[in-house]
């Protein structure tokens, strides 16, 4: 089986530790530089902060060594670096707010949420030994996801913040349940599509060179589309709606390899949004702000104007190529600079160069997710990893696109960077799930059992009875072959 051994990958825990050191260096020096830049002295607790962050990183690292030794070595360092950069920027905004007499401090809360998220990610890694367990909960996940999405609409529980009804407030905490819903949805879509993809991949009529699916197979996409549009109308949030529908279409494409699903999805969504924006005022207002952001009257409109968006653009512009440096800019002039507009804040202080580095980190993260999905051997894992990494990528696109005025502004948060407990929690769980699946993807194929060794698959000229070699592919409808077998070249004369 030498040919299979060629696929053996290094476990990569050492590599991960090395990258973690650099990631921690990035996080801690950002924190120190913020202090230096804003107040001209090192923050008093920089050593304690560094030790705490290093402790968090090491805990996950040790859990990975223990429970997922073959997990991908790049995911954790990238996540730690992003989380650290986010913390430093939130602290920086806090300092600016303090200087102006504000007393709301977010950095401490975010650090606490980071610790909670890391703990939860470790629990996921320890408890969930095999991601395929999740497939059993396909429909449970659907109900959980629907419940979480509907939760903010319940009177008394849901609160409307800045026009979007995507928050719930209970026991002094406010949460954005749609952040957690996306994980449950990814599980549901993966479980559903892995069983139903064969039907959905069936070919229907061919139009303009595009192989369309059969009309009767449009059911699932119609249901999700209706759900997404309902979210848009009832919760007034384009972000959740986009995320919900985008994830389904992406996973549908991954499952069926049919480009037509993407075209159909795009047309349906664009049509739905156009209809919604023509019919409902709040959707139309979002579009108006986006298209006419630089008009004086739109800019000046006190709540709901384009002031935030345009100030964010000004911030990005003043950052230029290399940025103003940590603590040297004025990112706090933008409302919600620590959550919705953290990308604009980072763009101002780190410049295009720094922002590009951060975006490449996301690219690397998603690439690892997609690579995991290619490498993993079961269909459910493939779809789950692809869906989760797509969610991260899509959220980046929607947030950065909103800030740079490519698409209308939405209520989504930048994964790991932005202030927000629920977002951080959900994204750390996603990271843990990706690590769990990647462990399965990179783990060398199990040793071939004695039964298989009795049938020498390669090397010996095979004759008729060996032409049907014993099936070694494991269970699952789409298991690619793990072990290598050879038959002779068909009919031998």
């Amino acid at each position: 089986m030498a040919t299979v051994e060629a696929h053996r990958v290094r476990a990569g825990r050492g590599t991960e530790l090395g990258l973690l050191v650099v990631a921690l260096l990035i996080a801690v020096s950002a924190y120190a530089l913020v202090g230096l830049g804003a107040t001209d002295e090192l923050p008093a607790d920089v050593a304690g902060y560094g030790a705490g962050l290093a402790g968090l990183a090491l805990v996950v690292h040790v859990v990975l060594r223990w429970r997922a030794p073959y997990a991908d070595p790049v995911i954790l360092p990238v996540v730690i670096a992003l989380n650290g950069i986010g913390l430093a920027m939130i602290y920086r905004i806090d300092l600016a707010r303090e200087a102006r007499g504000g007393d709301e401090m977010f950095a401490g809360k975010q650090l606490a949420w980071s610790a909670i998220s890391v703990a939860l990610a470790c629990v996921v890694l320890i408890v969930l030994r095999d991601h395929r367990t999740l497939r059993r909960y396909t429909y449970t996940a659907m109900i959980v996801a629907l419940g979480l999405i509907v939760l903010p609409l319940i009177p008394g529980l849901g609160v409307e913040i800045n026009g979007a009804r995507i928050w719930i407030r209970a026991l002094g905490f406010s949460l954005q349940p749609s952040e957690l819903a996306k994980i449950a949805l990814a599980v549901f879509f993966a479980g559903y599509l892995v069983t139903h993809r064969d039907t959905l991949a069936l070919a229907g009529p061919k139009v303009l060179g595009l192989q369309l699916p059969r009309i009767r197979d449009l059911g699932p996409i119609l249901v999700v589309w209706a759900g997404a549009i309902a979210t848009l109308v009832l919760q007034k949030d384009l972000g959740t709606s986009l995320l919900l529908f985008g994830m389904f279409v992406a996973m549908l494409y991954v499952a069926t390899e049919r480009l037509s699903w993407i075209v159909i999805g795009f047309v349906m969504f664009a049509g739905g949004v156009a209809f919604a924006s023509a019919t409902f005022g709040h959707v139309a207002a979002r579009f108006h702000i986006w298209l006419h952001a630089l008009d004086q009257d739109v800019f000046d409109r006190a709540p709901g104007g384009s002031g935030q968006l345009v100030r964010g653009l000004f911030g990005l512009a003043s950052g230029g190529l290399f940025g103003t440096g940590w603590g040297q800019g004025r990112p706090d002039l933008v409302p919600y600079a620590e959550s919705d507009f953290i990308v604009a804040s980072l763009g101002e202080e780190l410049g295009l160069t720094g922002l590009m580095a951060i975006l490449v980190m996301y690219l690397v993260l998603c690439q690892r997710g997609i690579r995991t999905s290619i490498g993993v051997r079961d269909g459910f894992g493939k779809l789950l990893a692809a869906g989760l990494s797509f969610v991260i990528a899509f959220q980046c696109f929607v947030v950065v696109g909103g800030i740079t005025r490519i698409i209308p502004l939405t209520g989504l948060t930048m994964p790991f960077l932005a202030y927000g407990g629920s977002s951080l929690l959900a994204n750390w769980i996603i990271a843990a799930l990706l690590l769990r699946v990647s462990d399965d993807a990179r783990r060398p194929a199990p040793e071939v059992t004695g039964l298989l060794l009795e049938t020498p698959a390669g090397g010996i000229p095979l004759d008729e009875e060996a032409r049907n070699p014993v099936a070694v592919a494991g269970p699952g409808d789409d298991q690619p072959t793990e072990a290598i077998r050879r038959t002779n070249g068909g009919g031998r004369s």
Binding site: T3, H7, R10, G323, I374, T481, R485
Partner: protein, 167 residues
């Protein structure tokens, strides 16, 4: 702090950011191409390995000598990829290549489709045909759309694997 220190710290941080990004990409690069480098060394290293491994390249020898009447290529050799060194004797029937267990040549290649390509004889020559694969089949770096004739020595690329007709 002097202006110079501030500027150095500011640019130094950007350098640090990119150093991290590039080293992460370095790790990815090794992950993408590392297996192939390892597999090149494989045959020499695994020579004394048990029969299935060591015997693979040598296996078709007897069957090839027993068939001398055909003038065209007599075997299909995998020259690159996880299955490097595997040789298939060519008979009179088509060779189906892909990841599905039902294929004649089962590739353990993440980038190949389950039924990826077909190599089949027609008259005196062998033709290769793509079976609607995701990543495509390439003959000497040209994408294969319809069935095209393959001369001996031409490289058929399927995912990470390269195949050649020889003999």
């Amino acid at each position: 702090m002097s202006e110079l220190t501030v500027t150095l710290l500011r640019l130094g941080y950007l350098v640090l950011l990119w150093a991290f990004v590039l080293s992460a990409i370095g790790v990815l690069r090794r992950d993408l191409y590392g297996t192939r480098i390892v597999s090149r060394k494989r045959p020499a290293a695994s020579a004394p390995a048990p029969a299935p491994a060591g015997g693979t390249p040598a296996a078709p020898a007897p069957s090839r000598s027993s068939r001398g009447r055909r003038t065209g290529p007599t075997r299909l050799v995998v020259t690159e990829g996880p299955l490097r060194g595997t040789t298939l004797p060519l008979g009179t029937s088509a060779v189906l290549i892909g990841r599905a267990p039902s294929c004649t040549l089962v590739l353990d290649d993440d980038y190949s489709s389950s039924r990826h390509a077909r190599v089949f004889p027609e008259g005196d020559q062998w033709l290769v045909e793509d079976m609607g694969s995701t990543n495509g089949t390439f003959l000497d770096d040209q994408p294969v759309t319809d069935a095209v004739p393959v001369r001996a020595g031409a490289q058929i690329r399927i995912g990470q694997s390269v195949l050649e007709l020889q003999g």
